[in-house]
């Protein structure tokens, strides 16, 4: 069995002290170690990240990884899953990646219900480019590109994913690590597109610890019907990424539906396919 320690690498961690990313890194490592105990083969896991502070996570975790480019986390994940559906594919993206540069890929991944897990490190600010507003920054956010305040209202990714077709939609908070670990494990075990928006304070550019600590509460899953889309939307509206006094975290929605790779591949495994006989195909061209 692999220990959490063995899941680390020699890379020097360059996140700021107090960064919310530490909570996500610890949670994914613990979740993977637990999942391995439950029978998951860690050699068959592939993690994809985008570009930004979040993305350094692939350097810090001793697992197969694909360090992609900004906004383009879901497409390599999709390619990996389709090429070899035997692999468990997990994506880490920032809010700029997921909801800005590459939003179409996220929507299509949900629409297709491809079996993979997508974790958004949502600090609601561009960290690595030193503090600009993102698609989920609160209204009037004063960043370096919007010194007079952001003119845009934030996107609600929970609602976006619910309307796009994701079959597992959840929100976590980096300080509630046990809760986050459990969310990640449930998401990985869910067959279909699993989405977790993780509220992650940026200690340097947008320190939201106090704000979240005062408002975040865990959804009592016994009181919430996660199979009902209306209830999920109702829950999602409680906090509009800036407006709202209580912030629910937990599973908003979870249902089972056939997955993209099941429908597209119909049992085929591309990496194991052998080329067909082109002679018989050419005969038809005479």
């Amino acid at each position: 069995m692999t220990t959490v320690k063995e899941l680390g690498t020699y890379a020097q961690n360059t996140w700021c002290p107090g960064c919310g990313n530490f909570g996500i890194l610890a949670s994914i490592k613990k979740a993977l170690a637990d999942l391995e105990e439950d029978g998951l083969d860690l050699n068959k896991v592939a993690i994809v990240s985008g570009i930004g502070c979040h993305a350094k996570i692939v350097d810090y975790i001793n697992i197969n990884t694909f360090y992609s480019i900004h906004g383009r986390v879901p497409p390599p994940m999709t390619g990996i899953k389709l090429a070899n559906p035997d692999l468990t594919v997990i994506g880490h993206a920032g809010d700029g990646d997921a909801y800005g540069e590459g939003i179409e890929h996220l929507i299509f991944s949900a629409k297709r219900n491809i079996d993979m897990t997508f974790i958004v490190h949502n600090n609601r600010v561009y960290g690595l480019t030193t503090g600009q507003f993102t698609p989920t920054s609160p209204p009037d956010f004063k960043g370096r590109s919007t010194p007079g305040g952001s003119p845009e209202d934030p996107l609600n990714p929970i609602e976006l994913m619910l309307s796009s077709g994701a079959t597992f939609v959840a929100r976590g908070y980096t300080k509630n690590m046990t809760h986050l670990q459990s969310l990640i494990k449930t998401a990985v075990n869910h067959k279909g597109f699993s989405f977790i928006d993780v509220l992650q304070p940026c200690f340097t550019f947008f320190n939201t610890y106090d704000y979240y600590n005062e408002r975040v509460y865990e959804i009592d899953q016994r009181d919430h019907d996660a199979s009902d889309k209306k209830s999920a939307f109702f829950k999602a509206e409680e906090w509009a990424y800036g407006v709202g006094e209580r912030i629910p975290i937990g599973i908003f929605y979870q249902v089972n539906k056939p997955t993209y790779e099941e429908k597209l591949l119909a049992g085929r495994v591309p990496v194991q396919l052998t080329p067909g006989d082109i002679r018989s195909v050419l005969e038809k061209h005479i």
Binding site: V58, N64, G79, I80, A83
Partner: protein, 550 residues
């Protein structure tokens, strides 16, 4: 030489391409070698479509402006093309829709008599044409049975009715004692070559003139052992393909210039991450949307230079279906052997024209990449003498595989240390030299015509076919680089050795090949450029070359 050219024209929606295809198959079945050119505007109904079917007893890969028979389903076809008719040529026309000097039949009446659908007018036209060129009924019957998907019996009745109405075969085409060959478009040849080299996945977003690769592979998925995927955008396409390659699937993608522009950022990722991928870029006239359904060779400079940073790549530019088959296979093998992006640079004229295909299928075999031996600790970017790092795929029980867009150490962990950065740059440059050495064993520059001629037509891609025939007529030499990046400088200089006059022939406005070779000290004396969306035909190019030589 026994040869005939037939033009069939009508509105979009009249089934012109399909009718032209059937005519090509008729002539193929009686032993002729075929070149089929299709000309259509970017619309679904209306407009003017035409196809030219050129059939010859010898192998041809170009068409001529002039034709021997015009089959006109509307007046436009007569008006626009009658000046192309050779002396003694014949117009076979729909007498209800058009008027001309020639022989007319009321094709719609024949269709109506047999309760056919309006689209079957083209079947009647084919029947009449078969009578005029004296094709045996059994040949026509077999071709229609093989080619038509719906209502075969009805189509046969309509064709027979028209066939019987022709009293005298005015333009008999003698049967030849040659076996028919498969008729294959450039796009189909690219598809089959990639399959032969072990293609597992084809991923593409529709874009003319590359779309037919997606359609063809999707339609023949199970027989060819390929999975096809149509994602949300070209950006999605290329990144899915890189993910699939990382997981071990031999993957090809296809698009045209605009789609490829969207893929450039990810091309650079393929360069940094050393991810193998085959990219088909089928050109059409630009800039921008340009002229979507016509042809150009205007993306050569773009493809050779695309992407930020120093990216190792291979660019192959086939000129006919056999070369398309071969270069697609070669691109796949080179992509995996060197873990690089490899291009097949096509254009509308190659991708959508149809050729008699006599390629040697065994010239391409899937070659395995350098696989890791599972000994010790795996390093994805191991610094080796020849620059090639052994490859392993996720799922391997003893390897952690880290692919990355960042500069990295051997293991694939991000680095910003100057020594480590330079080490990886040097490794990739060593790989470049290994690739250049490897490429010397292939025929990267082709020579046609009179090898001793001091006058050379320098061309690439689909322009080669017309150049070969012009060179034969004027006793000139043709030099065609099949590989355009890394430029096969030695082989090219050898092929051009002794030339007094080099005439560059391209379908673009600035002479992009001329510019590329000039960087290697090769000077062009004259340029013949065409940039009206149309390919060079043999007769037009012949006039152009004569003019330059006079």
């Amino acid at each position: 030489m026994k040869e005939i050219s037939i033009l069939i024209g009508g509105k979009a929606g009249d089934g012109i391409r399909q009718a032209g295809h059937i005519i090509a198959r008729l002539l193929n079945r009686i032993g002729y070698r075929i070149f089929f050119y299709d000309d259509y505007p970017s619309l679904i109904r209306g407009g003017h479509n035409f196809s030219i079917i050129r059939a010859s007893e010898k192998r041809i890969v170009a068409h001529k402006e002039t034709v021997d028979i015009i089959v006109a389903l509307n007046q436009d076809t007569v008006d626009k093309h009658k000046h192309q008719l050779n002396d003694g040529g014949l117009i076979l026309y729909d007498s209800k829709k058009s008027d001309a000097q020639g022989i007319g039949f009321d094709f719609m009446e024949m269709v109506k008599e047999l309760d056919g659908k309006p689209i079957m007018r083209n079947t009647a036209a084919i029947g009449a044409l078969a009578g005029v060129i004296n094709i045996e009924w059994s040949v026509l019957e077999k071709v229609i049975t093989d080619a038509v998907e719906h209502e075969i019996d009805l189509n046969l009745k309509i064709a027979r009715q028209a066939y019987d109405r022709v009293e005298t075969p005015l333009k008999p085409v003698p049967k030849l004692n040659q076996k028919p060959l498969p008729l294959v478009s450039g796009n189909e040849a690219i598809s089959l070559g990639a399959v032969k080299a072990g293609l597992n996945m084809y991923i593409a977003y529709p874009m003319t003139p590359a779309s037919a690769i997606l359609h063809y592979l999707a339609a023949n998925e199970s027989e060819l052992g390929v999975v096809t995927v149509h994602p949300e955008s070209e950006i999605g396409v290329v990144l899915m393909a890189l993910g699939a390659a990382y997981a071990g699937a031999r993957t090809m993608i296809g698009t045209s210039g605009g789609g490829f522009a969207l893929m450039n950022e990810a091309l650079s990722l393929a360069g940094q991450g050393e991810l193998p991928i085959v990219i088909v870029e089928a050109q059409r006239p630009g800039p921008s949307t340009g002229v979507p359904t016509y042809t150009a060779q205007g993306d050569l400079g773009f493809v050779v230079h695309a992407g930020h940073g120093d990216i190792l790549r291979v660019v192959l530019a086939p000129g006919d279906a056999e070369e398309a088959f071969y270069t697609a296979g070669l691109a796949m093998n080179l992509a995996w052997k060197f873990q690089i992006p490899a291009f097949v640079l096509s254009d509308k004229h190659l991708s959508e024209s149809i050729f008699s295909f006599g390629g040697d299928l065994d010239k391409i075999k899937p070659e395995k990449p350098l696989l890791w031996n599972n000994q010790g600790e795996y390093k994805r970017y191991l610094d080796t003498q020849n620059g090639i790092s052994p490859i392993a795929f996720p799922g391997n029980p003893s390897a952690i595989i880290k692919a990355t867009s960042y500069e990295h150490d051997e293991k694939g962990i991000t680095t910003e240390e100057p020594e480590a950065i330079a080490q990886m740059q040097r490794k990739r440059q060593r790989k470049r030299h290994t690739l250049i050495d490897e490429l010397k064993q292939y025929e990267t520059v082709k020579v046609y015509g009179n090898p001793d001629s001091k006058t050379v037509l320098l061309c690439w891609g689909s322009t080669t076919g017309a150049c070969i025939e012009v060179a034969d007529a004027l006793d000139l030499k043709v030099v065609q680089p099949l590989l355009l990046e890394p430029m096969p400088v030695e082989a090219l200089k050898k092929a051009l050795f002794g030339a007094d006059k080099i005439i560059d022939v391209e379908v673009n406005a600035t002479g992009q090949l001329a510019k590329l070779v000039s960087a290697h000290g090769i000077c062009i004396d004259d340029m013949i450029l065409r940039f009206d969306g149309r390919p060079f035909t043999v007769d037009v190019l012949l006039d152009n070359v004569k003019e330059v030589l006079s």
